[in-house]
Amino acid sequence: MTAVIEATGLTKWYGKRRGVVDVGFAVEEGEVFGFLGPNGAGKTTTIRLLLGALRPSAGRATIFGLDAWTQAPEAHRRVAFVGSDPGYLGELTAGAQLDYVGALRGLPSGAWKPVAERFGLDPTVQLKKLSRGNRQKIGVVSAFMGQEPLLVMDEPTSGLDPLMQREFLTILSETRAAGRTVFLSSHNLPEVERSCDRVGIIREGRVIDISSVQALLAGHWRSVNLVLGAPPPNGTFELPGVEVISASARDVHLMVRGDVNPLLHRIATLDVYDVSITTPEIEDIFLRYYDDGAQPLAEEVTA
């Protein structure tokens, strides 16, 4: 696998204000990489560093091996970008704006039409008359209208209605199937869960975890609820990674982390009426990173 995006020690200070600090990650060819974090965590700063809009205070980012700051125009030949709530030229129509961006990217006039149809975008309306959601559609259409091998998307679905979000995910999966690489910053956790191969989590300007979505889910606590035919013998659930939350007669609530097989084998020795294992939503995991009561992050970093 070749690294399409590579950030090493990437740091940006706005005077004394923190942008991002020592950010490092690599996005490999053909993968969809999710970049998660709350407002102000440094997602947009990271993207603007990747696009060469900002000069790093320290560290370096490369796109296809080209320096993101000093070789930006060359790198951009292979990049399509959509920003979060980008400014538009209100006097243009949606079609004119898309043609403008398309021409800058070397695309023929009207290259946006097939994608615009899928999103139900009216290209004849002046941008200043469009709602926030419809303006966002233009950004999304703009990102998907070319065939650049890398798409950089900063919260592309914010403002889109659920139908459009679904269409976005469909096109995103087509994009992934075509072997293109996607760097997707998002607040929309289900969207990340459904579309991304790996996820990077950024908090207060630092990347605190990078892992596959599956590993992220597997590395966290799952809730196990049991209804037993008889109270279990003492010490039944004294297993590595298992914590008894509550046990009253025949109802047992456990939390398990890591390999669940030892617990399943132990449960199999019991008279079980009912069992449910709840895998946490990625949202629960995400929130744990920002929860003061969460485990020390150093334990959870798998990058």
């Binding site: 603007r48 809009a53 900002l54 920003g83 400014g87 030229l89 961006v101 800058l104």
Partner: protein, 267 residues
């Protein structure tokens, strides 16, 4: 790609260029209506002007007879409406491609495409030059056309010599505003500083003309180098003045291009 950004800048500038051309042309035309009256009553006006100190009148461009087309044009058009029109055009056009588009969050979009920053800004600078020329031509056309209707007797060829000086004056403003826009990344700040500097230069020129002790102040005023009187009345092209404006404009634009090439576009 340069053609694409040039066409977009041209498209975004056409409304401003049109209205400024209409204003400059209409104003110059309106003033030209009064020129025959001025010429017929030049002696009367000179008597009236003698009431005021010579330096005071000179400070506002009134040197010589208002019956001379150069003095008339400079007093009522060149040093009155053109600085205002040129300042509006220069500041709006020069602060748009970097500062205003950065303010509104648009700049990241074109700069995320393969176009390099220098040609991106360069194409906008070419549009600034074109707009200045178009509006300056409109101003002269207004005076010449109405002048012909009222038999003002203007020498159209001489009046059109005003175009390069006027456009160069506007371009100097645009050059300064351009570099300030790149440095500040704020249309409000760049425009405000440019307008403030122009106002101070205007005051400096007035004070330097009224008060001989501070005559040197005029050296630092753009208004000192924008005088169309000799150009129209004698056909003398003020190469030095033209050169000053051209140098300021070119230095400003080159400075803007050099700085923008490596400008950190931090919010």
């Amino acid at each position: 790609m340069i053609g694409t950004t040039f066409r977009l800048e041209l498209r975004r500038s056409r409304s401003l260029a049109f209205w400024l051309a209409v204003i400059a042309g209409a104003y110059a035309g309106t003033m030209a209506v009064f020129y025959p009256l001025m010429k017929e009553n030049a002696a009367l006006f000179e008597d009236y002007m003698d009431i005021f100190p010579e330096e005071f009148m000179a400070a506002f461009g009134m040197t010589g007879s208002l019956g001379d087309p150069g003095v008339f044009f400079t007093t009522y058009i060149g040093s009155y409406v053109w600085p205002i029109v040129a300042a509006i055009a220069g500041i709006i056009l020069a602060t748009r491609p970097v500062a205003a588009d950065h303010d509104r969050g648009f700049l990241d979009l074109p700069l995320s495409t393969p176009i390099a920053r220098v040609p991106y800004l360069g194409s906008a600078i070419v549009v600034q030059i074109l707009v200045m020329i178009v509006v300056a031509v409109a101003m002269v056309v207004g005076a010449v056309a109405v002048g012909a209707l009222v038999n003002a007797g203007f020498d159209a060829g001489r009046l059109f010599l005003v175009v390069p000086s006027s456009a160069a004056f506007g371009c100097a403003i645009a050059g300064v505003a351009s570099v300030l826009a790149v440095v500040t990344l704020s249309r409000g700040m760049a425009g405000g500083i440019t307008a403030g500097v122009l106002f101070l230069m205007y005051l400096a020129n007035v004070v330097a003309t009224i008060e001989p002790d501070v005559e040197w102040l005029a050296t630092f005023s753009a208004f000192n180098y924008y005088d169309t009187t000799a150009l129209i009345d004698e056909g003398t092209v003020p190469l030095l003045d033209l050169g000053v404006f051209t140098v300021v404009a070119v230095v400003g634009w080159i400075g803007a291009l050099v700085l923008f090439r490596r400008r950190d576009l931090a919010a």
